[in-house]
């Protein structure tokens, strides 16, 4: 779609009525090559797709540099708050080397424990013990991938879904309830509980789609509000005897899951990794097929790109909003069920979502709302989580820094010009940025 010599998007190329142009997935086949942007009419729901595309069009280099930049900022934070560094900086002018040494030991210690807690423990004997941190990473990544896929699907239909938490809570309690209240043989119990969780979550997210379709209610507000409603609903159920509360207990906590409903370990009992990870992989492939190879996915992406055109093309937009949110909720439901059936099987409280619903948003953004991107982003964030706990335990660096790193990465990736400016990368060819639309004024940004 762009002139091979100058990289200038060919004027008028977006006017070619080529249906294959609409899918956003086709746009990032080659790093650095970005087709001219279509300029949707100023329809409110599509304001989100522009940035999604901005994120999608960032090259791999930008992504890596964004991670590096975030790690640098994190290093500064660690160094500034480190006790040893502060002590040494007290006499900085008499012996500056002490300060630098303290900074180095604080930062390298923190990041090496981050690495050893998430990828490979160097000091443990044997491969089987050394690789355990990586399986922990995959364990943490499992719900992030599932929920991230769910959020990504809603992004692709143009809905900014902040409601990861509500569906997760609903699915965790539904799956948890089936898991502890019924007696069934092993594989059946697991499947029924999982299905209950997925259905509950799909319905909860489907409410958002229905409200959006029939009343035009803004999905950001509705999802935020439903998060709280779900939280208080679950809190009530958990503290009321006879509902979800464990019998004979006063704590707002459910009884433990029955063994027949618990996800079996994938690599034997010495690793925490469960079959939930396999479900996440399968979900990734299904979502890939759904979005990129099915007609439903085509309709989804068309809707996300340009709702007005989609409506004109005869696609039932209302139905797409509802179906899309149902699927989104189902995927988030997998994450919720994984929490009670895989991670915390000893009974759950109202904090069972563990912030995954919100992390899923950043995962989806980082993964550019594409299934395999989300998969990789989920593993990266899973690694941050696994390593963050190790870092907190060994080096005393609070795990909250992981939040800082994650949010910075997403911010930097969303703003390639900033990263380019920081690293003094050559600015994109100015002429290439000239093409503008007279309608929305959005530039065609070429990253490289």
């Amino acid at each position: 779609m762009s002139d091979p010599q100058s990289g200038v998007p060919v004027p008028g190329s977006e006017e070619i009525p080529d249906p294959a142009r609409i899918p956003a997935q086709d746009q990032v086949l080659e790093p650095g090559q970005i087709p001219a942007e279509q300029t949707p009419p100023p329809a409110p729901p599509s304001r989100f797709s522009g940035v999604l595309r901005e994120i999608m069009s960032g090259s791999v280099v930008i992504s890596i540099l964004a991670v590096v930049l975030a790690l640098v900022v994190g290093a500064i934070l660690i160094a500034v708050t480190d006790d040893g560094v502060r002590e040494a900086s007290g006499y900085f002018f008499s012996r500056p080397s002490d300060t630098f040494q303290a900074i180095w030991s604080a930062v390298s210690g923190a990041y090496s424990s981050l690495f050893q807690g998430s990828i490979y423990a160097v000091n443990r004997p044997g491969f089987a013990a050394g690789i355990k941190p990586f399986t922990d990473t995959l364990t943490f990544a499992t719900p992030l991938i599932a929920a991230g896929l769910g959020v990504a699907v809603s992004f692709r239909i143009g809905l900014f879904n902040i409601g990861g938490r509500g569906p997760m809570l609903m699915s965790a309690s539904a799956a948890g309830w089936v898991g502890f209240a019924f007696d069934m043989p092993f594989p059946l119990h697991l499947i029924v509980a999982l299905a209950a969780g997925i259905i509950a979550s799909a319905i909860w997210a489907g409410i958002v789609g229905a409200l959006k379709a029939f009343t035009g209610a803004h999905e950001v507000i509705v999802t935020i509000m439903l998060n709280y409603v779900a939280f208080y609903l679950i809190s009530y159920l958990l503290r009321t005897p006879g509902l979800l509360q464990a019998p004979g207990s006063n704590n707002p906590k459910s009884p433990p899951e029955k063994a027949t409903a618990i996800f079996p370990h994938l690599l034997g009992p010495s690793y925490n990794l469960t079959i939930g990870f396999v479900f996440a992989v399968v979900a990734t492939i299904i979502v890939w097929y759904l979005l990129n190879r099915s007609s439903l996915g085509f309709k989804f992406r068309a809707l996300g790109e340009n709702p007005s055109a989609t409506r004109v093309a005869g696609i039932n937009v209302k139905a797409m909003y509802i179906v899309g949110m149902l699927i989104s909720g189902a995927l988030i439901g997998l994450a919720g069920a994984n929490q009670v059936q895989g991670s915390i099987t000893t009974g759950f409280g109202s904090g069972i979502d563990a912030g995954i619903g919100f992390d899923a948003i950043t995962v989806a953004l980082l993964g550019r709302s594409r299934p395999f991107g989300v998969f990789i982003a989920g593993i990266l964030f899973g690694a941050f989580k696994a390593g963050g706990f190790a870092m907190q335990a060994i080096e005393g660096v609070p795990i909250d820094i992981v939040l800082v790193l994650q949010s910075l990465i997403v911010l930097f990736i969303a703003a390639p010009p900033l990263v380019r400016a920081v690293f003094r990368l050559p600015a994109p060819n100015l002429q290439a940025r000239v093409k503008r639309s007279s309608v929305s004024g959005r530039k065609a940004v070429v990253t490289k």
Binding site: P42, T81, L211, A217, M225, Y236, V397, S440, G441
Partner: protein, 431 residues
Amino acid sequence: MSVLASNLPTPKMPAVLVPAVAVVRSWKTPIVLGVFAVIAVVLFLIFGRSGTSRLALSTPSDFFQIPVIPVNTRLAGIIVPLLLVVIAVVAAVLVSRARKVPLWLVAVFAVLFLFVFLVWSSAGQTIPIAGLLVGAVGVSVPLIFGALGGVISERVGVVNVAIEGQLLAGAFVSALVASITRQPLLGLLAAMVAGTLVSFVLAAFSIKYLVDQVIVGVVLNVLVTGLTSFLYSTLLSPNTETLNSPPRFQRIQIPLLSEIPVIGPVLFRQTIIVYLMYIAVFAVWYGLFHTRWGLRLRSSGEHPQAADTVGINVNRTRFWNVSLAGAIAGLGGAYFTLGSVGGFTKEMTAGAGFIALAAVIFGRWDPIRATLAALLFGFATNLQSVLGIIGSPIPSEFLLMLPYLITIFAVAGLGGRVQPPAASGKAYEKP
């Protein structure tokens, strides 16, 4: 009952509820009234409770005392629901004759419903009305500041999902600065600076780098949460005496005014932050709709091309007004540490920023309406804690859910009528 209704210290409550139901020229108003009337009949008539509810309006230090008013719970539970049904029917008749349902009718409905609800849930108990309202204002203060910040920001064309982050940053920095300097006023200033800094990032990324404003907002919330939690764990928590024990603002009693029953303790025995809030609400309202600044601001958010054509620098207007919004929201954050709790804790804003965002939308991007919406949310939250103390028959979780459900109903029910500023959320580039 009618005597009571006129004495009730809640002249603003009906106004709060008005945006939800009153303005719709359709069957929505009678339907909503009907639903609430049915709820009233089921809850208060069929599941009526017997006993006597006592409404305490005065506090001991008032200028003159209003005696505690006893109300027969059973009797109120019979009469008031029937009145509500009558009002709903009247509304339906009016609409069927193609006439608008008058505002005051909805207001009377809301007051009556609230009254019977209070009476019903406090059978055999005393409700401290003044205390209920004082607490409600307290809970509302950060929401109102956040909502004002949201109104300014969205009116100028930048969706502000980062209110939560601005509140949290304000709370953290004000605690830190006030603890070090022992000057709460400096803490207040620092909170404004902190809120502005968060806004700078929001403005820079959304205006300069054209990143989607909602994404920046969401990510900023995570960033501020992470930063403040990290710094709290590493700096504040180990040095609580020196870094996290800010002096709190004292309540200032305004002479005479503070001795009026009900109104006095609620409005005029407050800290300086609350008085600043009164000024801020008025100033934002006046500024937005009656000054050149407000006109430029709104035109940048409604029709940036037109604003640009008449010589307004849209992006500069946006940048500085988003910063101003951050400063105002930061003030709200300071209330957490300097006004109420007195010390920073992790994630202490607990979603207040999102409620403020809901208040902005519920209040239809109008500073006064958004303030009233925030007061409604604060009232509902505080009602829950008061009823929790005296033992309400309704589980507290459902009362806590109420503001969120109301918002969903408002956003869904008034979907066609809730119109954000036209260019809010869209980056503007000079063509």
